[in-house]
Each structure stands twice: as C-alpha cells, then as structure tokens.
Point group: C2
C-alpha cells in the first residue's frame, strides 16, 4: 500500500522534521497511519456515542497489559449533561468540553489490592510509593488504549490532564474513596473538524540508543524554529509579566507556563486519599 506508506511518511515528517523509511509491505499500515497521524479533537458533532460502543471501547481499554496482572485501573463514564457541565464549569478555558457526549475519567485504583489482601487475610507491607506508581501507570495504559480504540472507530478524543488542578473537587463529585484517584479525564465525540498534527521534538532528542545522551540546547532551538514555521503560537503567554518576544517558540512558552506555581497541593490531595508516598 504505497499510498498509506506515503501518508505515514508525510505525517511523521510534519511531526518530527524527518523523512522516515517505511516498508510499504508492512502489515497493519492502516493502524500505523492512525497512530502516526494522531490529532487532538476539540469539536464534536451533536451525535451520541451508543452505550454498546462505549462498552466495547472500555473492554478494549481494559484488555491492555496490567502490571503483574494486578488490574489497578478503572474507567468512570460520565454521560449526564449536568455532570459534564459541572466539569466544564471547573475548566473555563475549555468551553468546547460541554459539547462532548461522553467524558471519561481514568482512575488509579490501589484500593482493590489492599482490600483483597484483607479479605484473603494476608499482611500488606507495601503501602509506599510503589503502590501509587503502579496504579498510576496502569491507569495511563488504559487511557491510551481507550484512545487508540476510539480513534480506530473514528471518534475524536482530547485527554484532559488539567482535571489534576481540581483533583479534590472531582474526587468528591465522583465519590472516589480512599486509594482511588483520577489520573486524567478525556472528552470523546464524533469529530466536527479534522484537527492538526502537533510537531514534536526531534527523534534525535527523545530516542536514545543503548544509553542516555543529553542533547544541548541547539536541538531545542531547532525544534522551536521548525515548529514555529508550521504551528506558530497565536498568543504569547502572560506578556504583562514576561514581555513580548520577537521569536516566541515552544521552549519559551513552556518555561513561562511553569514559571508560576501549579498544582502545589497535588501531593496533599494524594496523601489525603491515603496514599503513602515514602
């Protein structure tokens, strides 16, 4: 399928600024094309997602690998309009969130394992960072697998990590008990626009061979310029504070974003949810 190989090549060239060699005889190129061409979707058609399809997507997501077969990830499906609006009210920068027919939460659930230990009358000498880490990663794996399944059937997704800014409020809203926390949310809907490819750091920066090699700032600078040529930022962040820059790239934007305290209370939230981070 030379057309598919060319489409993948084009998407990855736009993303990484590199022309990759692609064997057009590879199996699964349609799936590779969807993964390579991943676009975030923030506008949705006024069309529902059937409960059957939603259950299929959840089943796909929960078919993903799980650390030591512990199954420490849950999915929480929100469809009620008033609840989706209440979530949107917390995130005024994301008004499009209201239009999503489904909003998902991915939950790190370390509670089940602890309860199973009690039920099986075993000691549980593992209430430390590892428990939090494993459940968090399991939930992220389930999130990603759901996103892949959703994109396969033609749905558009937008993972919403900013729910972490409101973790305690959302936790109450969803009646999450101790040792269960939301790691991220996700809007799901039938896409109303094509979406765009986000250029990424060069593979020479993020892929290491045999050992970690740190690149110098020239690589970041080259990325800033490549990206600005394709997808320039429309606005500079907080110009009252940081001034206006003639060239405004990704690294400047991210440095500005993290120059103010963000989620400083997240550790307190996680500890209040009875996770021990020692």
């Amino acid at each position: 399928m030379p057309d598919l190989a060319s489409a993948i090549q084009a998407a990855l060239a736009e993303r990484f600024g590199e022309r990759l060699e692609i064997d057009s005889e590879l199996q699964g190129l349609d799936e590779i094309a969807r993964i390579a061409g991943h676009r975030v979707h923030r506008r949705y058609l006024p069309r529902d997602i059937s409960p059957h399809l939603m259950r299929l997507l959840c089943a796909c997501a929960l078919s993903a690998p799980s650390k030591s077969d512990l199954q420490q990830a849950d999915i929480l499906v929100v469809r009620k309009k008033e609840k989706i609006h209440a979530i949107a009210d917390l995130l005024p920068d994301m008004p499009w969130l209201r239009e999503a027919p489904v909003f998902l939460f991915f939950l790190a659930n370390a509670r089940r394992l602890v309860k199973i230990s009690t039920m099986r009358r075993k000691p549980f000498p593992n209430d430390h960072l590892d428990l939090f880490f494993n459940a968090t990663i399991d939930a992220a794996i389930v999130l990603t697998t759901l996103l892949r399944a959703a994109e396969a059937v033609g749905l558009g997704c937008c993972p919403i990590s900013v729910i972490r800014d409101h973790a305690a409020t959302i936790s109450k809203m969803l009646a999450l008990p101790e040792k269960v926390i939301p790691i991220a949310g996700m809007c799901l809907g039938w896409p109303a626009e094509e979406g765009g490819i986000t250029p990424r750091l060069s593979l020479n920066t993020t892929v290491h061979q045999e050992r970690f090699v740190e690149k110098d700032f020239s690589e970041i600078d080259a990325y800033d310029r490549r990206r600005a040529a394709i997808r320039p930022y429309r606005n500079q962040r907080d110009p009252e504070h940081f001034g206006h820059q003639e060239f405004y790239g990704w690294s400047e934007d991210k440095a500005r974003q993290y120059a103010v305290p963000l989620r400083a209370d997240f550790g307190a939230f996680v500890r209040a949810k009875a996770f021990n981070l020692d």
Copy 2:
C-alpha cells in the same frame, strides 16, 4: 465484516465473561480486534527488527498525546546482546528475555522542562509531586502507543515492570541523569507462539457509570472462578509459608504476592534521582 466482529466478541467473552454487542459496520474493526485480542508474547523468532522499523515504532509512540505538550517521555533502545544479557541477569525469572532482539526502556524525563526553564531564565516553582506524576504518565502513554504500533505490524511485546525492582542498577547501566527514571521496560520480537488471552475482572467491577461504586467481594470471587476455569494457576505461590489451598484463584495469588515487602526502596531511588515527592 461479520467475521471480525465475531472474533472480537469471542476474545472479549473470554476476557470479561460477557457477550458484547458489536456493530459489524464499525470502521477500524481490524484494529479493535488487535486491541481486544491483546496477548503477551514471551518467545521470539531468531529474527531481527530493522533499525528503520524500530525508528518508525518510536516515531509512532512519540506521536501520542503529551500532558500540556510538555513531551516528558523518552525511549531508550537496547540492541547490544551483552546489554540485553546484563538486563536478563537481573531478572532470572525471565530467561526468555535473552532471546528478544530489542529491549526498550520508557523514561519519565522531567529534566528537560527544568533545563528549559533555566535556559529561558525563568523561575521553576514546580519541583513537587506533580512533576513526577506528569512525566510518569507521559512515559506510560508512550509505552502503550509503542505497544499498539508494534502489535499492528505483527511484533510481539512483553512490558517488563519488574525493572522497577532494580531501578538504581538499571539507571546506572543506562547513564540516566537526575530527574530521569525508567518507568518500565519492554521486550520486542517476532512472536514464536500465539500467546494467550488473560481473563480480566468483569466490566461491572472496573467500569463505573457517573460515580464510583465499589463492588463487594462476590464479584472478585466470581472472577476468580471464571478465570480458574480458563487459565488456572499452575503453581501456588509460596506454599511453605501460606499452605496449599484446594481452590487457588487470582485474588489469593495477588494477596500472597503482596504479602511480602516489594520495592520498599523505590521512593528512596526516586528521591535520589532528585525528584521531590511533596
């Protein structure tokens, strides 16, 4: 494609003990079938994975969503036989690991953001749990996307979370600097066997509607029995200590696994890597 829909239905019935309704007109059913039919692969053919294919898979993986576009995940590719053997030496329960032509590490890289802040002469008042959490989740998303791309082209994968038991040793082996940690490894190879479907907790246990609802132990018990009928454990864990049980299910196995201290030093490792978990 009614055959594909039936195959998906069969895989998910084996996995979740539930017959899902599947619309055979859905697009992307081939991808859904691969996701729903996910099997772990621990035996590989003596056949290499070309550097071009490996680069394509890394590019696919790094096309995944990233929290706030911060790109805090790296991939480290190990191909050198002596290095793969050194990793296998750390994990004597996994001798098949030696046969994998490629071993990957997924790295949570919070270092880049901190360095960018310095280079851009901005303050960085965000050195707390959030930084660790975001980078960890980004790395898990990249891991999962790589797994999906690899399975699409016909490769077999086995994520190796147990590298967390040797985090400091592996960190030295890979020359990981401060604020970069491996979240998991992965064996990759052309599968030499079909692999099996792992039955999972019922969707009634792990998928919640609108709010979190905890199921009682009867759901776990039903899962233990459904699973044992399909995939009974060959051996009971640590019978010298816990005795022999007539019925030995998943919950008993997991309670026994976590009845001894595991990775109690993981928090110390993460802190030594200059992450602040407050």
